[in-house]
Symmetry: none
Subunit: 412 residues, 2 copies
């Protein structure tokens, strides 16, 4: 099965944004065992989009379009595809009801005639409701080619694809997949360890994917039944963990089961609470934890202690001692964790202090980070060196390392 991705938007051709939707869709399609042969970007222009559609129809079974579903005159993807397929556009009643509710809910929102364009749907197409936005998507088969129309914003495109399109593709292919999540090993090292397995893959296939600080492996088996699929996946997983000696790095399974979610689940299971005192990360860790539904059962709140004075004042650390030890030190990390735990009464407390850059701090290199962890069994500190990276990557990695430290402590 061949797929082709068409992104519509002059902002892409002007370089205002990168085509991250094509990257996301390519990853997902690869995981589903579907080959992507071309990406195309075309502007908000009906004539050129029509030419691109005519070409794609000749070379792909699935044509996936993103962007151009908004309310402005520029947004013409559904209009152009409808006319390419010789069909009409009709309003989707459910989408229209949602639009009505959206505008009814706040008197400040002013509805204009072009807003209704967003909920138009191509006659005969399957409507793809938009859980996180207003513009509805479409899926339509015509002369053996399936066209999928998705909204441009990644926050709308991703759930729509994952929840509504991927299951259809999976069904077609009888594919069974499993995601293994690793932390503490880089992608190139992991791929080197699995070189033979990757080279010889046929069924199941094996696709590594690196995000900031973690690597996932997607195993995809084509099989006649769920049982057969599971058996193939179990064999490959065993081979991966054994040949690659990767047991110590595997921390969870599944697309959404990232470190924060894994820690949250374990805390809930054990009935424990967690607080944090963040310096270089300044709330990133707490915001990520609280971004997960149900966080309020384990997370009472915490501290953003950015300046030296606030570390002392909010967490009850003697100012002179803190000055002497330094903010980026084992002592400071331990005091911060212990102080946060004492002040909130949480079962566990994390602290993060370090140098995100661009400049050195207290004479210490950019990338130097101390984590502290306080719990019923005492307080510990852990040094990380995350240098050679930019400010925000260092902060993100520090958050992941802190979640990983919590995870290791919880499962010990």
């Amino acid at each position: 099965m061949k797929a082709e991705i068409i992104a519509v938007g002059t902002e892409l051709l002007m370089g205002q944004i990168a085509n991250t939707n094509a990257q996301f869709l390519s990853q997902e399609l690869a995981g589903l065992g579907i080959g992507v042969y071309y990406h195309t970007v075309v502007g908000d222009n009906a004539e050129r989009l029509t030419e691109v559609l005519a070409l794609a129809r000749q070379r792909a079974d699935w044509v996936i379009l993103s962007g151009g579903l908004g309310p402005t005159d520029d947004d013409l993807t559904k209009q152009t595809l409808a006319s390419f397929l010789g069909r009409d556009l009709v309003p989707d009643p459910a989408g229209l009801a949602k639009l009505d509710a959206f505008f009814a809910s706040s008197p400040k929102r002013i509805r204009t005639a072009n807003n209704d364009r967003q909920v138009d749907t191509i006659e005969g197409a399957r409507v793809l409701p938009n859980r996180t936005g207003l513009a509805v998507g479409n899926l339509i088969e015509d002369q053996g080619v399936t066209y999928v129309v998705l909204p441009g914003p990644p926050s709308e495109l991703q759930p729509m694809f994952l929840e509504q399109v991927a299951p259809l593709l999976q069904q077609d292919q009888a594919l069974y997949s499993r995601v293994l999540r690793f932390f503490g090993i880089g992608e190139s090292q992991l791929v080197t360890r699995l070189a033979d397995l990757i080279r010889n893959q046929t069924n199941p296939t094996l696709a590594p994917y690196a995000k900031v600080g973690e690597v996932t492996l997607r195993l995809t088996a084509q099989a006649a039944s769920w049982e057969e699929g599971e058996q193939l996946l179990n064999q490959l997983e065993a081979a991966i963990l054994q040949e690659g000696d990767l047991k110590d790095y595997l921390y969870a399974y599944g697309d959404d089961q990232n470190l924060a979610q894994t820690v949250l689940d374990l805390l809930r299971e054990r009935g424990l609470t967690l607080t944090a005192a963040e310096s270089l990360t300044a709330g990133l860790l707490q915001a990520e934890l609280a971004g997960l539904p149900g966080a309020s059962t384990v997370f009472p709140g915490g501290f953003v202690t950015y300046s030296l004075e606030q570390k002392s004042q909010m967490l009850g650390i003697p100012l002179e001692d803190l000055r002497a030890a330094g903010m980026v030190s084992a002592w400071a990390a331990e005091q911060m964790a212990a102080g946060a735990r004492a002040r909130t009464g949480a079962d566990l407390a994390l602290s993060l202090t370090g140098v995100a850059g661009p400049d050195k701090l207290e004479g210490q290199e950019v990338g130097t980070v101390w984590l502290g962890l306080a719990g019923p069994e005492g307080t510990s500190s852990h040094r990380l060196y995350l240098g050679g990276r930019d400010r925000n990557t260092i902060r993100q990695l520090a958050v992941l390392e802190a979640f990983h430290l919590t995870l290791k402590t919880l499962i010990k």
Copy 2:
């Protein structure tokens, strides 16, 4: 003049990387007054690349290729273009000498026959030396079309383009652009207000772009000089603000001047500090502020007060009064802001409390948010309704609204 960008690489079609080269080249070409009409991504496959070249030749004056110049068998961009143009490949002597020196400089480097492919050049082409890598680029004109071949790594592609290709592309008619940033008005409403201006645009052009919570307008003028460009942009900007009655929504200019940056700049200019007490956003606002270099001069730290108990304890709000008023209330927002200001000694303190969902809280609808702002002139509270959105969008919008409230207060 029309340009088209072709990126070659199976790693792009697998989603392992995003096509940031196309974004970079598009930005640069826009700045040079050259319209980009298509981006294409094609795998490491001679047949498909030849088809893509045949199509590009029909629709562009400049065809810019990136990737596929490396030493592996997969790398076949120059080979394919040479055969498409009916020409031979010959080694570039200067590139070969650099390759010799590279391998001579470290005994650990092992040179294989394949390595020499990198310095091949298409007969009759201008060689583009690679200052930051080994693979040489090419520029060749054939039947009125100019082909440019650039290496895939951005660290090699960018200097090669900027230093060797851009100077050739300089034209008399350059483009001058300006970005206007609006907050508090939706894209569809803004576009409706500017419908006539958008419909009648020729020079300068006008492109709206919406992100979460804000809309930007890019104005682009084609002009013979900077002065003429500025004059055209000034006229259009005045028309936009007047016809659209948009003065109250414009808050800044420029690609990177988002709300957090604008607030940070103003605070630094005035020598003021800002703290925050965050409930539903749980550190998002503080993390965003601290993500900007130089934040430490204005941001001492703050509070993540997620539970009712921690709102009371960290900020000194009487527990029974808080229970009576409710956490999502004007009173709570004011107490939180005043408490955070008192406890940190900051000049200004923001508070954010509300219902991010998925469930109602204290009987209040998902999307109900109260902001508090405490300063030397007293404390105020502000109700928002951000319903009809998902949990994380509500949180992001609440942060933007809080920054906007601060901005309005600072410029009042």
